[in-house]
Amino acid sequence: MSTAASATMGGPRAKPGKKKAIGGGVNTMPLLAPAVGLLLIWMIVPLAMTLFFAFRRYNLLNPMIHGWAGFNNFKYLFEDPALLHSLLVSVILVVGVIAITIILGSILAAIFNQPFPGQGVARVLMISPFFVMPTVSALVWKNLLMHPVSGLFAAFARMLGFQPIDWFGSFPLSSIMLILCWEWLPYAFLILFTALQSMDEEQLEAARLDGATAYNIFVSIQLPHMARAISVTIMIEMIFLLSVFAEIYVTTAGGPGFATTNLTFLIYQRALLAFNVGGASAAGVIAIILANIVSAFLTRSVGKRLEI
């Protein structure tokens, strides 16, 4: 910190004539270089390697096999039904969780925006799941709540005279979706609630005096006000949900069959379980392309509002 400040502050002093120049008068390179350099390496080296391996024949178990593969890795990948299925699983997870969390999150944000007793405490309870590490949330749901023999849901089912449901066996994808919604609803809620808080209270008051109902206010005033926050939430959730891993790893390990194998888990299986570097890299290239499409929108949306 001290070197950082002295370098920039030494700048104007050394060149008093340029004191007023914005930015131009000061050499900020030494301050920026470490961050920029490291991020550049972090981005380019693995990316280049993934691209390289995607066109190679490379299996960690059999070092004798090597050489260029051309587009064969991609060919096998696209002929493999597992890829299409994993893409489908990824899309279902991403779209489903985003839709549920945004709809519930915006309604809850409007509800919490009303003053009520103990609002602060209720909000803290509400957002808590977001801070729970993914492996813990997955295991709590899997073992303590949804376990077909000793879980809480099964206990309730038996008390009511029903047959307990084997959640991860019968509805694997929905069960994982439920866990993900529990983790991400607090996030959507927190962002949308913060956006609502920045709203002009008088506008709401005026609407109320004009006889608008809570529903009218929500649809015509609050929802448009949250539009930007909603779009940012969607895109950030998309980035994180495309790479859901730990929840699948500890609950279903991608199964039964391929039922819960998303693209991330497929690559993990190919790379670290089957040691097929070439095939995993080809799938990695597809994941990167997908994420880039999303991130282009996010970057533009954030950049539009950026004040420097």
Binding site: P34, K142, L144, L204, S243, T264, L290
Partner: protein
């Protein structure tokens, strides 16, 4: 006055909000409750709400010498990566906020775009690089990876914070005759500390809960709590009360951190788009 009107308008809102909040918190509360039961009580039907609380599970978790190793790894990785992130990010954010240039906007957006790279897309090369460097199952590898992946968020958060500081104050105190050291210690430091502290807090939370790289790059020596908890997923008998106790210990510090940093979290996790 406006508040009292609103309060009388929707008494139902408070009830709904509380019900939802309690439902959302229930799994955490249920887990905490289970951690004080015996293993038999934890799986009993009908579920026990009242029981003789026992600390046996916590004692068992601690007497397993390993738990402290995993907790130590989590702390070491989170603190190490956070410090490293701050050391690199603070100067960069400071430079861009206090001395913006025409290329600052592009630079910031580029940094954001590096965060969009999906971890799994680079799993293979990172795994191979870490292996060839002999750093598989080492804290160093996780510290470096956490640092790099959190840096864009940290820089953005610090930037939005520094940008809103009164910049004239430095100039003014220089004119008033303060020397460089005085300006740094008495003017700049108190101004930037809150922003640095909340950025650090967010980095610690993100590192602590990071699971993808922790699960893929560690085995036994450097595994943090996320990986330790995951090892409970292969069932070998009934140990859910112990799992609960370990989980409570693993999430408690971060939960408390999170409660205190909600506001800053929003600006950090939306790259300053929502404040």
């Amino acid at each position: 006055m406006s508040h009292s009107v609103a309060k009388q308008r929707h008494p139902v809102a408070g009830i709904i909000a509380w019900v939802v909040a309690l439902v959302m918190f229930f799994p955490i509360a249920w887990m905490a409750l289970a951690s004080f039961k015996t293993e038999v009580e934890a799986v009993q039907t009908p579920p026990l709400l009242f029981f003789m609380p026992t600390l046996e599970n916590y004692r068992a978790i601690f007497s397993e010498a390993n738990y402290l190793l995993f907790a130590g790894n989590s702390v070491g990785i989170a603190v190490g990566a956070t410090l490293l992130t701050l050391i690199i990010s603070v100067p960069a954010a400071f430079a861009m906020a206090f001395y913006p240039s025409p290329r600052t906007r592009g630079l910031l957006l580029w940094m954001l775009s590096t965060k969009m790279l999906p971890a799994v897309g680079v799993l293979v090369p990172i795994y191979l690089l870490v292996r060839d460097a002999g750093l598989l199952d080492s804290r160093t590898a996780l510290i470096v990876i956490n640092t790099l992946s959190n840096m864009p968020i940290a820089i953005w958060m610090l930037f939005t914070f520094f940008r809103d500081l009164p910049k004239d104050i430095i100039e003014a105190s220089r004119i008033d005759g303060a020397n460089l050291r005085q300006v740094l210690v008495h003017v700049l430091l108190p101004l930037v500390m809150p922003g640095i502290a909340s950025t650090g807090l967010l980095c610690i939370i993100l590192c602590w809960n990071e699971a993808f790289w922790s699960l893929n790059l560690t085995a036994h020596n450097a595994a943090p709590l996320t990986a330790f908890i995951a090892s409970f997923s292969a069932p070998q008998g009934l140990f859910w009360a112990k799992l609960s106790a370990a989980s409570v210990l693993a999430i408690a510090p971060i939960l408390i951190f999170g409660w205190f940093s909600q506001k800053q979290l929003v600006s950090g996790l939306t790259f300053g788009a929502v404040k």
